[in-house]
């Protein structure tokens, strides 16, 4: 079973900020949270990774509350090209015996 729960789909409009929340109630102490983006017929692309509080890079921010049971991917001022499926994954960076389970992700549709 996937360790994460995400909304199946979301809609937004160009120029808006989009927040996608992921639930991971059973996250372990050593688990990191990673988000990937996937366009149709392409491989997933790493977006951002974090352990706690807030992480920001050139494309997104990741907010992780103190209890780490959820996380929110924030995409600022989205454009039509941000239409994609977004996957939230949790796992131990050092544990080579643990297999990441990918859920169905969140299908984000950006409208003009």
């Amino acid at each position: 079973l996937a360790k994460t729960t995400q909304p199946i789909s979301m809609d937004s409009y160009e120029g808006q900020e989009v927040n996608i929340t992921c639930s991971h109630n059973n996250i372990a102490t050593n688990d990191y949270i990673t988000w990937y983006q996937q366009f149709p017929s392409q491989g997933p692309r790493f977006i951002i990774q974090g352990y706690k509080t807030k992480v920001t890079n050139e494309v997104a921010s990741l907010f992780i509350p103190a209890d780490r049971k959820s996380s929110t991917l924030s995409l600022p001022r989205v454009s039509l090209s941000d239409t994609a499926v977004y996957y939230c994954l949790v796992g131990d960076l050092e544990d080579s015996n643990y297999q990441l389970i990918w859920g169905a992700g969140t299908k984000l549709i950006i409208k003009p």
Binding site: D31, Y32, T34, S41, Q42, G43, P44, R45, F46, Q49, Y87, L89, V90, G91, D92, L93, E94, D95, S96, N97, Y98, Q99, L100, I101, W102, G103, A104, G105
Partner: protein, 115 residues
């Protein structure tokens, strides 16, 4: 710097045939993972190769086998193809002995259609 490359991009086979898919990892990466992705679903882990050995395997039958070469490139072989094997096959590379949560770089995939 070349990213992960896969060949071929598309492939059509008939039931019962065998297929070989190829992957070259990102420069500097030594670990290759293979995934199967059916339409509308997330990737499903097939197996991972590190130092030319299969390190971990997902819930796939023995018809799925692989190999990693000394230059870290990898092959995925599927025997006795079934209609249900039709999917996008993804290769991902990473570095070192870290866990599966470590950042993986994915190739564009090979679209396999079994008729």
């Amino acid at each position: 710097d070349a990213g992960v490359t896969q060949s071929p991009t598309h492939l059509i086979k008939t039931r019962g045939q065998q297929v070989t898919l190829r992957c070259s990892p990102k420069s500097g990466h030594d670990t290759v993972s293979w995934y199967q992705q059916a339409l509308g679903q997330g990737p499903q882990f097939i197996f991972q190769y590190y130092e030319e050995e299969e390190r971990q395997r997902g819930n796939f039958p023995d018809r799925f086998s692989g190999h990693q070469f000394p230059n870290y490139s990898s092959e995925l072989n599927v025997n006795a193809l079934l209609l249900g094997d039709s999917a996008l096959y993804l290769c991902a590379s990473s570095w070192g002995t870290g866990g599966f949560a470590d950042t993986q770089y994915f190739g564009p995939g090979t679209r396999l259609t079994v008729l």
